[in-house]
Every structure is written in structure tokens, then in C-alpha cells.
Symmetry: C2
Subunit: 251 residues, 2 copies
């Protein structure tokens, strides 16, 4: 399993991904799922992947090789040639869809596996706004909007309630990163197939502030403290809630 | 969707179910999912259902009519004839499996629907311990054990983290009911297809204390207060967590 979270806020873009992969519980290992597709003066493009690893890896290989030309262009098409994030998202979606179809065909129709992968794609072209997209296995995609400033792929449910409660477009960047890490903590507690290290990418809206990339290891002091303190706070909050009045009858 | 929760604790058995059903978001209605199959001086048997409503309703109809005799018996078999909860669980599983197969056959192989249903079955025979079972769509079942004193069916993930954190076999009954309701609150916030009224059944371990059945309506003062107070407590606990130290670089 996998958990990836993207948050597109007033002050910047945050993307967080775990690194655990498994093919059954007896075959667990670590793969980076947060990929910097491009980082230059002109643009920064980051992708987080969920689903079948062979599909998402093939999609990246295809993007590097270049996709077949279309009617308008004179050669293979690369993310670097695209004029904006929307077109990059389209090309990445196309690569994902092609890889899935190719792998499905090789595997044959009677394969028991679902060869599907999805991605969060985020980034910016110089001088233009930050963007975040959820790219579906079929290749289509949606763009993150201020009304719901986050997107999730993979094991999304355990970590969603805290985001629903706490995250708004106006939430400051550091507060959002903290909330995102709490969301990962809840997910990792309830699903063993999501695990550290976590990779974080932060692109501030203000282009003069450089992007920040950080890995949260098993030994990360801040995360361990956050996890412990949150557990205590939840326990105390729960204990402070009043008991059901109707239970007096059975006490 | 549906959310049903069963908790088998030192002090008693608690079962909670929502009542919302939907066949698409444009076809939502209320059906009771917590059913008292039997309540007499000799035994109390309660079932909560999730999944395809036609399958679980047919299973109950079948249990009322009686299942076909087997080699050892001389007539149709009813839950009331079973000698213990384990055998009741087996019969209910059989009814669930037969209903599913019949409905699948009527629908034809090319139907797009998954005709599956599952149940939580709880209760007690007089003088014997309380039991709780998770009955799968295939008719097999597992019994709840003190190491993990709760079982869920339906939309289980949003409400699981609080149970993972707070629930133990020794948890007092009123505290468990409170925690169960918090689990429902989180689920209903994140999934609109789980909704009130909620039905609660409580069977204390001490047989001299009568069972308690309660419905939590939209207007229930205790639940509304619990939901509001929990939201505030979570917000405060989150706000009190320290901000990530590595964020100083992008501020």
C-alpha cells in the first residue's frame, strides 16, 4: 500500500509520500514514491505515485524516453517541452494509461492483478501559480481547488478525518505540514503497509523562497515527538468527553 | 454504505449500527440494520448487517422460514433450535451464503452488482458467556477475542483509529459506548452515506442487568454535544502540537 498527500495552500504546495511497498505481507520493501521530475530555474515538477509499481515506473521511463509525437508536433513529446502544468499533467496521464495498457496486455486477460497506478502531480512554471493534480489510472486528471485544498492517493481513509477537520486554503504552511504528518501518523498506526521514511517536498508560493525537500526517517525526533504527543492529547481529549447519560440504567 | 461496530468487553457487549442505505447518491433512505433476532429469558441474539440489502433481508427471511434439514435433523433448522451461539453463527452464515447464491443466479452472471452481505452477530445463551462474531459473505465467521475487543463491518476505516487507540477489553461499558459514538461521529463526518439515526444495543455481562436498546436520532442532545465537544478538543490538541523545526528554512 501507499499513502500520498498533496496540499495546495495560499502560502505554498506541500507533497508528502511514504516509501513502503508490498507484494503480500511477506514481501515488504522501500521504494521512493516522491519523485522530482524536473527542478530548474524555469520549473519544478514533482510526482507522487500509488498503485502497481511496475506501471508507475514504466510511466516514468516512458516520460524520459518521450511519448510518440502527435499531429501537431514534430518529434517525441517530453514533460520539458510542455508549455504549462496542465499540459504536463495531460502527458503524465497519457504515459500512465499507456503503461497500464501495455502491462495488462503482456500479462494477459486472465491475470488476477489490477495493473493500475495513480499519481499526484504538483509544481510550477516560473512566474505562474502553483498547481496540484490528481491523475487517475485512466489518464484523466483533476486540479486541486481552494474549497478543498488537499488530495490523497493510496490508503486515504485513516488520515482523512484530521484533514477534513483542520485544513483550509488559508492554513499556514508549517501548520499544514504538521497536520499532514499527523494524518500520516494515524494512517501508519492503522495500516502496517504504510511506513517511514516519509518524503516531503515544500514549494512556497513566494518564488524567492527556495523549495525544501526533507526525509523523515524512523529516528526523526520531531515526528516521534509529534506522534507521542498526539497520542496523549487524543487520549486526554477522549477521557474528558462526558459519558452517555442513558448508560446509568445499565451501571 | 453502512457502518456497524461490535465491542465485546469484560463488562458486556455493545453493538452500534447506522441506518442509512443508498443505491447511488440520488437514492438514499433509512433501513434498520440492527436486528433483534431473538430476545427471551433463554437467549438474546442480535445481528447488524452491511452490504446488499436484498441479500441480508433474504437471509433473515430464510432464517424465519427455517433452513433445509441436514442429515442429523428431522426438519427445518431455526436459530432458536441451535444449542449455542457458535451454531447460531453457522446457521446465519449458511443463510447469508444461500441468499447470495440465489440472488446472484437470478440476476445472471453479467450483472454489474456484487451481491454480497456481511453481518456482526452478538448475544448470549442464558448462563453462558457473551459472544460476538463477524460473519463473512461466504458464510464463514470469526469470533471476537479480548486481544482485539471490537469488530467492524461496512465503512470501517474512518472510525478505526480512535478504536485502535482507546479500546481495550477492560474498558468500562459506558466509556466504550462513548468511544464507539466518537468512532461513528468521525465516520459520518467523512462519509455522507453513513448517517443517523444510530441504533445501540448493550448487553451487560452481569445477566441480572437487563439489556439496553437505544436509538440516537438527529436531535439527540448527548450525541450533538459529544460531536461538538470532540471537534473542539481535536482542534485544540492539534493546535497545541509543536510546529516542524525544519520549516524555519522556508518561513
Amino acid at each position: 500500500m501507499t499513502y500520498c498527500l498533496g496540499m495546495l495552500l495560499k502560502d505554498g504546495l506541500v507533497m508528502i509520500a511514504d516509501t513502503r511497498t508490498n507484494a503480500g505481507v511477506d514481501n515488504i520493501s522501500s521504494y521512493k514514491k516522491l519523485h522530482i521530475l524536473e527542478q530548474s530555474d524555469d520549473r519544478t515538477i514533482i510526482a507522487c505515485t500509488a498503485g502497481n509499481l511496475s506501471v508507475t515506473q514504466s510511466a516514468f521511463a516512458l516520460l524520459k524516453e518521450g511519448l510518440e509525437e502527435d499531429e501537431d508536433s514534430s518529434g517525441p513529446r517530453f514533460p520539458a517541452d510542455m508549455p504549462n502544468m496542465h499540459r504536463v499533467a495531460g502527458l503524465v496521464g497519457e504515459a500512465l494509461q499507456i503503461s497500464r495498457e501495455e502491462i495488462k496486455e503482456t500479462a494477459g486477460e486472465d491475470s488476477q492483478y489490477s495493473f493500475s497506478g495513480s499519481m499526484l502531480l504538483g509544481g510550477r512554471f516560473k512566474g505562474r501559480p502553483l498547481r496540484l493534480y490528481h491523475i487517475y489510472k485512466e489518464g484523466n486528471f483533476i486540479s486541486c481547488q481552494p474549497d478543498r485544498p488537499f488530495m490523497q492517493i493510496g490508503e486515504t481513509k485513516y488520515g482523512k478525518p484530521i484533514l477534513d477537520r483542520a485544513l483550509e486554503f488559508e492554513t499556514p504552511l508549517d501548520d499544514a505540514v504538521k497536520t499532514g504528518l499527523v494524518s500520516f501518523d494515524s494512517t501508519m498506526r492503522s495500516n502496517l503497509s504504510v511506513g517511514r521514511p516519509l518524503d516531503i517536498a515544500i514549494l512556497p508560493t513566494d518564488e524567492r523562497t527556495p523549495a525544501l525537500f526533507r526525509r523523515i526517517e524512523q529516528t526523526d525526533e520531531y515526528f516521534n515527538m509529534l506522534s507521542a504527543q498526539w497520542a496523549i492529547a487524543i487520549a486526554e481529549a477522549r477521557a474528558a468527553l462526558p459519558l452517555p447519560p442513558f448508560m446509568k440504567e445499565v451501571e
